[in-house]
């Protein structure tokens, strides 16, 4: 196919693909007073920020934003280091039965999340972790570890073993070799894992729905789902504005880090 034809097809398809985004933005921008769903395609006014402010106030979304941001930053950071440590133990320190241990860690992701929901809910209730931020951070960390270990093991396998041996000759401890040589060397892979896991956690519904209930613990997507089902006393335009607010960070992060995304996807992917 000629270049022009290909480009034309892609542009037309691309415009079609963006229509829902267009509808979302213009309707999320209508003030509740002028909002009528009978003119969905025509923009009327621009009250997006007022609607977002309303959404934040009405349904505790502002509390959710803060806690979700915490989960999406803290958990992947811990998971990346823990996963890298596992990869380091297996590849650089040549842990006995290393591959078996790797399979043990990686196998944790093969099962659907549905298998762990109920026992986690049950156990969290008993030990006082239900509906706490610490509880959410722990569970998000745990589910991010297998992917991190997988990518980091792959990455470290490509590092010459004499890097490790030379450091030993220089008298460095294993911790020092890990934190000063192996971790910095892997920074691009670490960033790739971090971005993928942060996006995943930001967009999580199931764990949030199961393990939390109060506004300041509930992840943002769960709050949005709650708003939608009851409208939380909110107008349609407010719900749409909330959807914009919830979606914007991941879309922006994704577009600015496409390179890392592609890399993360190439290494091991969702």
């Amino acid at each position: 196919m000629s270049r022009i034809l290909r480009t034309t097809v892609l542009v037309v398809l691309g415009v079609v693909w963006l229509l829902p985004v267009y509808l979302l933005v213009i309707n999320a921008s209508k003030s509740p007073a002028t909002f009528t769903s009978t003119e969905a395609w025509i923009p009327t006014d621009f009250s997006l920020f007022a609607n977002i402010a309303d959404a934040m106030q009405l349904s505790g979304l502002s509390d959710s934003v803060v806690s979700t941001l915490t989960y999406a930053v803290v958990s992947p950071i811990i998971a990346v280091v823990v996963g890298a440590a596992a990869g380091f133990a297996i590849v650089a320190l040549r842990l006995k039965h290393g591959f078996l241990w790797f399979v043990v860690i990686f196998g944790g992701t093969v099962f659907p999340l549905q298998m762990v929901l109920l026992p986690l809910f049950d156990a969290y209730s008993r030990v006082g972790l239900y509906d706490t931020q610490v509880g959410m951070i722990i569970v998000y960390t745990a589910i991010s570890i297998p992917f991190s270990a997988f990518v980091m093991r792959n990455f470290f396998t490509g590092v010459a073993h004499n890097v490790f041996e030379a450091s030993v000759l220089d008298g460095a401890s294993t911790w020092r070799i890990f934190s000063r040589i192996y971790l910095p060397m892997a920074s691009s892979a670490l960033v790739a894992i971090f971005i993928l896991q942060a996006t995943f956690i930001w967009n999580d519904l199931l764990l949030g729905l199961t393990l939390s209930q109060s506004d300041d613990v509930r992840p943002i997507v769960t709050t949005l789902a709650g708003m939608q089902s009851t409208y939380g006393g909110a107008q349609m335009s407010t719900v749409l504005a909330a959807a914009v607010l919830v979606s914007l960070p991941t879309v922006v992060l994704f577009l600015f880090t496409q390179k890392f995304f592609a890399r993360g996807l190439a290494l091991g992917q969702y």
């Binding site: 196919m1 290909r6 892609l10 691309g14 415009v15 693909w17 509808l23 979302l24 769903s37 003119e39 395609w41 823990v82 440590a85 133990a89 297996i90 320190l93 040549r94 842990l95 290393g98 241990w101 043990v104 990686f106 944790g108 992701t109 093969v110 099962f111 659907p112 999340l113 549905q114 929901l117 109920l118 026992p119 049950d122 722990i138 960390t141 570890i145 997988f150 990455f155 396998t157 490509g158 890097v163 930001w202 519904l205 729905l209 997507v221 949005l224 089902s229 719900v239 749409l240 979606s247 879309v251 992060l253 994704f254 577009l255 496409q258 190439a266 290494l267 091991g268 992917q269 969702y270």
Partner: protein, 315 residues
């Protein structure tokens, strides 16, 4: 949840300090076994306590009658029998199969087409962008947008009215139409990532056979069927495996758009499991559905895990 896809060139580029990978069997253990155990312990512990223990507990509960109060009472296979004789579970299973089929046909197909269209096209990266935006939106976000578009007299109905269709179907009410339109919504979200994966695959195809084929005059369909498609096969297995596994777990878009309704007409297995467990407090039945879902997911995973394992052996 996760799959594996390694393109040799990309790997090499990422590794930086690359050298030929050691064969695992030929590795000698270092004298740092104590330290090594220390480094791997946090990962193993967290995964064991938060993923494996719950997994075992769910499996156990699937053989019991339990509502969260008192002790689980062992009932053997009763939950599984109840599950398969419940017509709404069977409906939920059929919907899930629809999801699997639809997700394979639409997002994977369009994704491949997009990758081929943008391949070697100047500005291809920018032309792919519109398709990637929905991928970063959460399932609930997608649900909110599409519920709005598909609501009665919503954006779609208004557009149809312009071309004279004044009596449109009730998109989210009539089954199985509601499942079909939700699959379209999911496709809107998922096409971009499939396109990206196929693009990575296309980029990793070695140049020589392509040049040779071009010199021989292979273009268009011929080039695709005789060179590109066979070379993309390993990647296609991965994308297909991923799509199946993801569609088996379909939850948030359905929860957001129909809540599985009307009645239970558009429920998927993941939603049925959630409702039985957390709404009806029938922990045993909910666990049995989770176990069933896991077994099917595991079987589907074999599709792409086999691909990965065979690569491992080559190394």
């Amino acid at each position: 949840m996760m799959a594996i896809l390694q393109t040799p060139e990309r790997e090499q580029e990422v590794r930086g300090l690359a050298e030929a990978p050691h064969h695992p069997a030929r590795r000698r253990k270092t004298p740092y076994q104590g330290a090594a155990r220390g480094f791997i312990a946090p990962g193993v512990l967290l995964v064991a306590v938060l993923l494996y223990l719950p997994l075992l507990w769910t499996t156990f509960l699937s053989f019991t009658e339990y509502n969260g109060l008192g002790d689980p009472e062992f009932v053997g296979l009763d939950n599984y029998v109840e599950m398969f004789t419940d017509p709404s579970f069977v409906g939920s299973l059929m919907n899930t199969l629809l999801w699997v089929g639809g997700t394979l046909l639409i997002p994977v197909g369009i994704g491949l087409a997009l990758a081929l269209l943008t391949w070697n096209l100047p500005g291809g990266i920018w032309l792919r962008l519109p398709f990637l935006i929905p991928y970063a939106v959460s399932g609930i976000g997608v649900g909110v947008i599409w519920s709005f578009i598909l609501s009665s007299n919503g954006a779609l109905d208004q557009a149809l009215a312009v071309i004279g269709i004044t009596d449109p179907p009730r998109w989210l009410v009539d089954a199985p139409l509601n499942t079909f339109v939700m699959i379209i919504a999911a496709a809107w979200q998922g096409v971009g990532v499939n396109a990206l994966l196929f693009t990575i695959g296309l980029q990793s195809i070695p140049k020589e056979p392509l040049e040779a084929a071009r010199v021989d005059g292979a273009t268009g369909v011929r080039l695709f069927t005789s060179i590109l498609w066979p070379m993309l096969r390993p990647l296609t297995a991965v994308v297909v495996g991923l799509s199946i596994v993801a569609s088996l777990k379909t939850f948030d878009i359905v929860l957001s758009m129909t809540k599985g309704g009307p009645g239970r007409a558009s429920e998927t297995l993941a939603l049925t499991m959630y409702r039985e467990t957390f709404v009806n407090s029938d922990y045993g039945l909910g666990s049995a559905i989770a176990v069933f879902l896991s077994i099917v997911t595991l079987l589907a995973s074999v599709l792409y895990l086999r691909q990965q394992l065979s690569k491992k052996h080559e190394m």
